[in-house]
Symmetry: none
Subunit: 224 residues, 2 copies
């Protein structure tokens, strides 16, 4: 790449870099909320337009999600490499997930390391005590991603990481959480138990059942 003579940054670029740095360095945690546009505007000494353009850049890179009336939330601490096809629809996800996560769960039961098991245990435990829906959803996607990684197959791991990003963009997910949280918790525990026990069929089955239940719940919301 040809290095160009240090172009002077526009204010919007400077603000974007600052916010991005805050996110990638962990100064603002994943799941956390950024200050409001108005206060960022004051903090950086620029107008709200500039702040909004910077936030758009973050959103385009998949780092943040902005919700009307609520604020801007951090959903990833690094740029994902799956931006090519845009975001998946809820229908696409519901349709595709079983084909990927069910076999992944089966493989995870056979291949998981102790470290991976520890991660999963930690996540499931945290979910049970978590009351904030946004945080819970973040943990949920972490759990599914952890299983895919534990499958030892990078294709599965990559797809689920993809899906994880897409889920964060779907507000339906959040709406569904309140009703599904308890049921999901126990379903997760069953999946984890099967993976711990090294029982592939059970893990696959538990995952299939979980995804089916989630699909039904989502469906009832979307067609309500």
């Amino acid at each position: 790449m040809p290095t160009q003579p240090l172009a002077r940054l526009s204010a919007a670029e400077a603000v974007f870099n600052a916010i991005r740095a805050d996110i990638e360095s962990g100064t603002v945690a994943v799941g956390g909320k950024l200050s409001s546009e108005a206060s960022l505007s004051q903090q950086y000494g620029v107008s709200r337009s500039v702040i909004r353009e910077a936030l758009r850049s973050c959103t385009a890179l998949g780092l943040t999600v902005t919700k009307t009336g609520k604020g801007t939330f951090v959903v990833a601490n690094k740029v994902a490499n799956d931006l090519t096809l845009g975001h998946y629809s809820a229908g696409d996800l519901t349709e595709a997930r079983p084909h990927i996560e069910v076999p992944a769960a089966g493989l995870a039961a056979v291949r998981r390391t102790e470290d991976e098991l520890g991660t999963m245990r930690h996540i499931v435990a945290a979910m049970i005590t978590e009351t904030d829906p946004e945080s819970w959803v973040a943990l949920d996607s972490s759990f599914h991603a952890a299983i895919a990684r534990a499958s030892g197959n990078k294709v599965f791991a990559s797809v689920v990481a993809d899906i994880r990003g897409a889920l964060a963009f779907q507000s339906e997910t959040l709406n569904m959480v309140a009703a599904r949280q308890h049921a999901s918790d126990s379903e997760h525990q069953r999946i984890l138990a099967a993976i711990e026990a090294g029982k592939a069929d059970e893990a696959s089955h538990a995952m299939a059942e979980h995804l089916r239940a989630v699909g039904v719940a989502l469906d009832s919301i979307l067609n309500h």
Copy 2:
């Protein structure tokens, strides 16, 4: 189209999607210049702020660059996605592909458009007369990618596009081609016929059989 966006798009998102589509479809050529913010604003019937936010998103994705006093120029027709290519092992691919491509073939049989069918026919026809192994492999991956796109599910389309990149880097595939080319051609024809006929089960079955055969052939080479 079975699955469509369920979430209401904000104006900025809608404009972003439109501009991105123009770029990715080639309506605006790489190297070309977009209309000025003012005229885009008029064209889409939104304020300049909205246009600027959409352009920021394009810039963040690396599709465009904006130069003060000159305008916004297209520098790429797709989002760069360098990080995932070629990361998957042959074993990962053999293991994961059936779980994705088999259901995708089934869906394609039900959802494919005439255009997509035409593309697939063209590819299969070209493969039969193709003698150069490299070109044949390129067509092969195009065929699999076309089926995934025709499934109408972006998750499947994305994964197979990914896999396609990885396949091109695997020399085993090339070594295998000589022996498999003829068999693959007829397997492809069977898959295509089932998709043309709209028979989902047959399409899935033909794809499963094809992938199994490929897997066996690959295995015999790797363990030789």
